[in-house]
Assembly symmetry: C2
Homo-oligomer: 213 residues x 2
Amino acid sequence: MSSTTQKRATRKSPAERAAEITEAARGIALEQGLSAITLRNVASRVGVASGLVAHYEPNVDALVAGTFTAIVAAETEEVAGMLAALPGPVERLAFLLGTLMDGSRLDVTAVWVEAWTLGRRNEALAECVREQMDAWQAVFQAVVEDGVAGGHFNTGDLDAGDAASLAWQILGMIDGLTAQSLVRWGGVSDRGTHLARAVEGMVGAARGSLQMR
Amino acid sequence: MSSTTQKRATRKSPAERAAEITEAARGIALEQGLSAITLRNVASRVGVASGLVAHYEPNVDALVAGTFTAIVAAETEEVAGMLAALPGPVERLAFLLGTLMDGSRLDVTAVWVEAWTLGRRNEALAECVREQMDAWQAVFQAVVEDGVAGGHFNTGDLDAGDAASLAWQILGMIDGLTAQSLVRWGGVSDRGTHLARAVEGMVGAARGSLQMR
DNA sequence: AGCATTATTGATCGCATGATCAACAAGCTT
DNA sequence: AAGCTTGTTGATCATGCGATCAATAATGCT
């Protein structure tokens, strides 16, 4: 009979093997959730003994936290990177709303929501969650400040420090609406339209200016 | 030595014991999360053998789903009940925003967020989550329709069916912002102010009319 | 008082988890 | 070619889970 069963995994460099494990954990998190990241689950996906995964990671909590950061940071950097190509703050804010609400990243949204809960029992993860939330908030805050400085937005009677506050607010709204679409797909057809209108009111942008397309 | 250790739990009526179990599960969910609801955990809180809990509940998934519904439905009914005492839709909407954002129900928020994730692997729970989301949406929709009919709100060029859509939107925003405050307390001081302004813009209410105190 | 009902126990099964570690073998250095 | 370094294995431990069920004892009924 043909030896389809590989007795022992080919020996690889630590860097290469570590990358395989990281990548496997990432795939599992996106497909089955962060809580599906177990030593045995990751090991079998890589095609390796469970002990080896434990050998490369200090503990499972750290692997979960690291996987969360890898997934979420990649998204932030990707989206933030696209902002540079856009002409001004109005277009950037419109792009952020449109992109984050288009439903093409539900797997990442699920990771976010699960992390909020898991962070309760995994302090390393909780710290990563806070970091990544801050990173997103910074992206929004920069756009808002830019828009206010250039006269595209008008926050009216709000004082200066409110750009930070506004950024948190917009981010929270997006989180809630995307989480909602995770559970209730059919609810609203045009989430983007309503959100755009709401944000226009908050930052004092012209009606329709944040509407994509 | 005094017999402080009770050898056997006092025999109680099925209704009474079932209520104890339900209450224990409720307490555990609010204090440690829905995933802390286990046969042994609930049993020890009631002061009873684990087998007894299994005897009263078909399975743990059902107990989790039922506990979620009990916690969340109680909140909905409580808040919705207070609406009747208020004079009009403007006051009702302002009250809803103010009450749900005041941070006094973080434990319930945590249950919501965890349920979104757990529903992925517990179909009974997922169904309960959808039901309770619908219930909340109905509360908001009624207020919005009332306000539009009475001329307090002005949804402008939006057609009739958009009250439902608006209600989903407002609910989503609240969910996101409360979930955010679960992880990041310090972020924003005046979430309520920004949210009120955003919702005013969405429903076409007068500036400041939805601001609580 | 005797009996039938049933609330309650606690041991048990199968399964999954994270962690640990002695043994093994592949590849590099000499 | 020999030897050493280290990537890799797989068995093992302690723990926790849901579920099941025969045995036990308390209650209410006759």
